[in-house]
């Protein structure tokens, strides 16, 4: 893909304008690992939220001991998954979809703040290389660079208390760490609510969830992309 360096992507590639000669095709764009990652992460977050709320005294539906055990094991497993996912993102170059971008951001923001109430169509057209709209990319990059690191960072510091408990004021520091962990965890829950809610905007909730199960979604393909897939990666084309 040396072309990338010479030729900037066309406006439609960035979802700014509808692609004039593109065909909408159902294409595999979420590989198996990405789907596994997504659902493991989703399941883990649910377990972590439930056990976390239990430990924090919000509910008593689970014993404290079991809550601690599950929370610790699931958190460590999720961290391991994140190590793999990060490796995958870097080696496959897929990390680029999460790069925040300004172009088209306003159009998407305007749609959610206004257009959606007018019955307008979503202004972003997914392409083969960019399945996230600018607002999604910005939200995910914030999540991955600020929110998640804060959660697992404080979580690890919290978990390894016994290695630093001899520091002066350790009990107070632990309380600070625990409070940050808690605050950010609630923010993650807010993200989850938003994430699920946004699936209701568009065709239907089921259509929103389906791609993350089957891996395929309708995206705009240029004739060249279509020809390439038809010839070399037919397995990615569903219809």
């Amino acid at each position: 893909m040396t072309d990338d360096a010479v030729k900037p992507p066309a406006p439609f590639e960035r979802g700014l304008t509808p692609c004039p000669d593109c065909a909408e095709r159902e294409v595999l764009i979420y590989p198996r690992f990405e789907r596994l990652w997504h659902w493991s992460q989703a399941g883990s977050i649910v377990v972590l939220m439930f056990t976390g709320l239990g430990m924090n005294g919000v509910h008593g539906l689970i014993s404290f001991e079991l809550a601690v055990r599950l929370h610790t094991i699931v958190a460590l497993a999720l961290l391991l998954l994140w190590v793999f996912a990060t490796f995958w993102l870097v080696t496959t170059g897929s990390w680029k979809v999460f790069l925040p971008r300004v172009l088209g951001l306003f159009a998407v923001a305007r749609y959610y703040a206004y257009g959606v109430f007018k019955g307008e169509h979503h202004p972003y057209q997914k392409s083969l290389a960019q399945r996230l709209n600018p607002l999604q990319a910005m939200a995910y990059s914030a999540l991955k660079t600020v929110v998640f690191p804060l959660v697992w960072g404080t979580g690890l510091v919290y978990l390894t208390y016994n290695f630093w408990e001899t520091l002066p004021n350790a009990p107070f520091l632990l309380e600070v760490v625990a409070n940050i962990h808690l605050a950010v965890a609630y923010i993650v829950s807010g993200f989850v609510i938003l994430h699920i809610y946004l699936l209701t905007i568009g065709h239907s909730f089921r259509d929103g969830v389906r791609p993350m199960i089957t891996g395929t979604e309708k995206v705009a393909l240029t004739p060249e992309q279509e020809a390439y897939l038809e010839r070399h990666e037919t397995w990615r084309l569903v219809d």
Partner: protein
Amino acid sequence: MGGYGLRAVALALGLGLVWAFGAAAQGQAPQLSQSTTDHSKLKELQKDFASGPEVTAACLSCHTEAATQVKHSIHWKWEFENPSTGQILGKSHVVNSFCGTVASNEARCTSCHTGYGWTDMSAPPPSEATAVDCLVCHDTSGQYTKLDSAAGHPPLEAKGKTITGADAWAVDLKKAAQSVGAPGRENCGSCHFYGGGGDNVKHGDLSSALFHPGLDVDVHMSAEGENFTCSTCHHSDRHIFAGSRYDVHAMDPEGTGKPGQIRQDVATCESCHGTAPHKALSVTGMKLNDHVDRIACQTCHIPSFARGGVATKTGWDWSTAGRMDADGKPAHEENYVQGDGKALHTYLATKGDFEWGENVVPHYAWFNGQVEYTLTDKVIDPTQVVEINRIEGSPDDGRSRIWPFKRMEGRQAYDAGLNHLAYANVWGPTTDTAYWTNFDWAKAIEAGMAAAGKDYSGQYGFVDTHMYWPITHMVAPASDAVDCRECHAPQGRMAGITGVYLPGSNPTSPGALIGIAFFLAMASGVLLHTVLRIITRGGKGGKTHD
């Protein structure tokens, strides 16, 4: 199948061998005595003894250093100089919130002295070597005892009461002398289970329930468990025992000591169980091991004290004593029935009102092993609850842990002029000063103060007191240990304890509130958006996407 069959044959062979050896050993070898001496064969003990000291003289004819060793112990001296605070403590000096003080009540209190004839607290115990009572600790015949008011002497006729409150019998001193052995729980228990004037009155975790406890009452002392005697943990060296309430080993980072060695100089849990006693390869075990530097083992493993059917006295109000019934006789009430069915006094004209408790959830406090006693020369503030023994410790001193205590709530006499805790002469059947005989506080306190050699203003009053007893016996099975949630919850067992972060104790901590605010903002944004979508779509005549 073949491997299974082979294993079964091997197992059968092995079992057969074990059985054969066992049968042979039983058939041939006579029952070997653990000791190298059968005391019933000693000529020194083939005689009828007329008194306790006569038995002691016989013991000392072989065990020449025994009396000297005993005389260096707190069991004998009833005196303990606290190495950290310099306070002179021990039964002969401290005031408690039960019967108060020994001075002026000697022959009653010294009935549990490990000696004979200590009748004056202002002097040391009798100096004769034969004044040491060997039998109270070493009798294994089970029929040696001491009278409850004879300064340590045993009953030689069936008259009076024993130190456990039973009707006295004539003790067979010869039989007792010939039975001697290592102290069993009956020996220690006959005094220590009855401290404060009755079964479990004082400690809360030391009662007659420990003579034959179920596994649920005490895993160490139960026959279904380890079947320990007291001295399994309270190891002794030269008649001095490990484990003191006056100088507690509140934290023991040493653990079991070097491999192959058994630490016998301490009575801590860690000296056997080590400093990381929970399963190291499980999340729960690791987390529990994280607790041991801040939480005493006892805090989780003794979920409540006074278990096994014997209640402990939790409150004693001396100020209400002296009430007579309609016939002018000392009043009494028995309004508490403990677990084993025995009715207990809740009021006695001689002693006032009592409160009792069973399966009592302890009071918790940071404890570094030191206690500062309010001795009788200390000025107290009678408008406040006086702490008879202040528990020392803090989360920051590096040697404190959170310990369980029995908190005894008392109301007892004090010198209202000098603001000192008071001595009172309560026992004395033949005196005209003893409160239990004459029901006159003025005389009783004056006599008590005089006996102790203390200044007395002549005015007295009653002051509320708290006295703390570290709880360390009646360790429950691990399955009965305090559940995490008992502490990790709002208003849990650790409510009021500072200096530790306790997850789960405050669901509305600052971090939680900030997080909840963010969450609510996001959730209400979603809600608002939903409502707007519904309204605007309705306005547009139900126009939908695609």
